[in-house]
Symmetry: C2
Amino acid sequence: MPDLLIHDCDILRNEGDRAWVDLHQDIWVDGVRIKDIQPASSMPSPGNLRIVEAGGRLAIPGLMNTHAHVPMTLFRGLAEDVSVEAWFNDYIWPVESNLTPEDVYWGALLGMAEMIEAGVTCVADHYFAMDQVAQAAADAGMRALLAWAVFAHEGEAKLEQTCKFVQRWQGKADGRITAWLGPHAPYTTTPDFLRLCARRAQELGVGIHTHVSETAEQVRLSLEQYGVTPVRMLLDTGILERPAILAHCAYPSDADLEILHGKRAGVAHAPKTYLKLGSGIPDLRRYLNAGIPVGLATDGAASSNTLDILEQLRMMVLSQKNLAGDSTVMPVAKALGIAFQGSAQVLQMGSDLGEVTPGRLADITLIRQDGAHVFPRINPAANLIYSSRAADVDTVICNGQVLLENGQLLTIDKAQVKREVSRRLARLSQRVPGNRIAIYPA
Amino acid sequence: MPDLLIHDCDILRNEGDRAWVDLHQDIWVDGVRIKDIQPASSMPSPGNLRIVEAGGRLAIPGLMNTHAHVPMTLFRGLAEDVSVEAWFNDYIWPVESNLTPEDVYWGALLGMAEMIEAGVTCVADHYFAMDQVAQAAADAGMRALLAWAVFAHEGEAKLEQTCKFVQRWQGKADGRITAWLGPHAPYTTTPDFLRLCARRAQELGVGIHTHVSETAEQVRLSLEQYGVTPVRMLLDTGILERPAILAHCAYPSDADLEILHGKRAGVAHAPKTYLKLGSGIPDLRRYLNAGIPVGLATDGAASSNTLDILEQLRMMVLSQKNLAGDSTVMPVAKALGIAFQGSAQVLQMGSDLGEVTPGRLADITLIRQDGAHVFPRINPAANLIYSSRAADVDTVICNGQVLLENGQLLTIDKAQVKREVSRRLARLSQRVPGNRIAIYPA
């Protein structure tokens, strides 16, 4: 017998070049999966069912964030209008060096509150003190693919600790947590270290989440130092024999795209960060033509200021049309294909996520369609991409559990999170030598 | 005695390269203007005062939209992913040809509901059947600078009708309405027609709102047909002797910028439209270096899908950093200078709008700062630009009158507007030969 009924929603669908809405549908959820979808009220509902009254809201796959540093939500607004170098060296790394695991937990929970409110049900996170991020995901009810970032200078012992993290958390929280390895990037590791990561990932049977070719400069330095591109280094070191999330990968050569073709690797695309840092927007047609999955990502709130996938979807479409100088590029259905099926593929969950269909995991977001800003509803899919805001997210379901209802968080005490974060920032802002952060009172 | 007290807000301020917040302030409003600003609760309040409890919300100048076609909100989502030519010829102009004045009224009111909810207090609108738009602004309580669009092929008699509109509405609605002339663009008029517009504007003592140099192609065609750029044509025909809003002006030559320097002309910049149409983003440093005011605009919702100035502010900053390939370009304070003082200058109201200061008109927007997505408040100005959403707008005051309180519209019956728009779209979608518009039920 089903556990949950989402009553009377409009389901947004996309396939190839087509996007459409199935009006007035009931979604039946059994445990963690979608069991059935039928026209609204066409089946009798048993009495002891949990019913979510969708009232004509738009049902979309729970949004997926394929690359983030969720605990960095602590640093939103800390480093504005500075160079990438100053961003790291003068702001982010000094404060990160003072973070405690408990700080990471509360920062992660703040970011998850923001994501759930914005309809995001799954995040691929890449940070440190990842037991805390895993605990936050377990507590918040989100799905998470977690990788503990490791640099070569931290050594093999540190890598082994991240392997232990993988073993501790794999499949935990009712199967919501997946754990991978997370070598930071080719430019912060060495070929030997990457080879070791690839071998350990193979032994553990897990994938690898890493940054690669974020800027033109990184590619230039790699060619200078190693004679190969960063993507080629991932191939040469065995990383690409594993399932892989390639964060950013904004500067692949044509040869890089040939390397990636047919691999279990996808690209996490975070256009708001690229626009804000001025690091350049890649032409996504090159990836799609090469058959390489692309998904949406927010990166960390310290660089992109939000963990809002609807916003990244809009930025992705607008920046692609702008880059091409062509209004017909990246049409509505193709954009949804990246946000939904593409992101699911990047997470290596292409058959479980990305569509509201029987058999898939019950990760579903319901979006209000009654605002003046999304009226009239001539084109609900275009409204989602160009007009809807995260604040229109009304209800969020992950793994069959309701995390947000009528815009209210059910699993996170937001007031407590804000109190904890405020308290910790007061301490962090004192402890950065010569870099006291000004904090406005909460 | 003051009429209105906004109690305990944080006021966002910007001057040159600095942006900051004055915490816990009271704003006293006397009639249509700000009378005094003092630390919260430092002055006793008389009993019969209208009090808005700001509760620590961020007070900013009422947002200004320097170029729109508000009634086109009717067509949101009608024409997606098509070329500019198809957008006009296959979609917009066929439906516009069937619009009645009453359709224009309800479309305008829908757009004003969206704008007020998004914190916009003033709009420079450019459309037809402008008596209806003026009536909508009068009813909605917004400030409006209105120009009746006219094409050369409509003839002198039509221009005279738009002059009559100016005389009917100038200074009406407690001074909230300003009326100008609106020749559509150099490419849809003739030099003789523009000369006539300039002469009539001078006789009426009003300004001119026109489109100019929207695309590279328009500039090329002007040079081919007339041997001068569109901006030069505005100079040669006397238009630039009048106060002028130059909508878009995205492709000025260096000589054009020299022409505009020192004139009473400002540029209405609508980056979301330029990104979406792939028509190109201009480098705003060129205008600012030439001393030419730049303000924010939404254009019509048929092209940009929203009438959301906060969103345009974010798009403006991100697209400028992207264009320059430099994260330090268009820093926070400079962006606020365009959104606030720049927009006020473009509207020729630089001493009346754009700052929350005694003596200025009481156009004020209060924004919630308690969301997870704007926490922590390390940098409230950066939060406004990069993280806040229109949905965070809580209270809107225009000309001393409260239009929105606790997110609720006080002057517009949104349900009625939606009913009227739905009814009219059902008719409009039937009457476009061969172009029936699919409308999803409301």
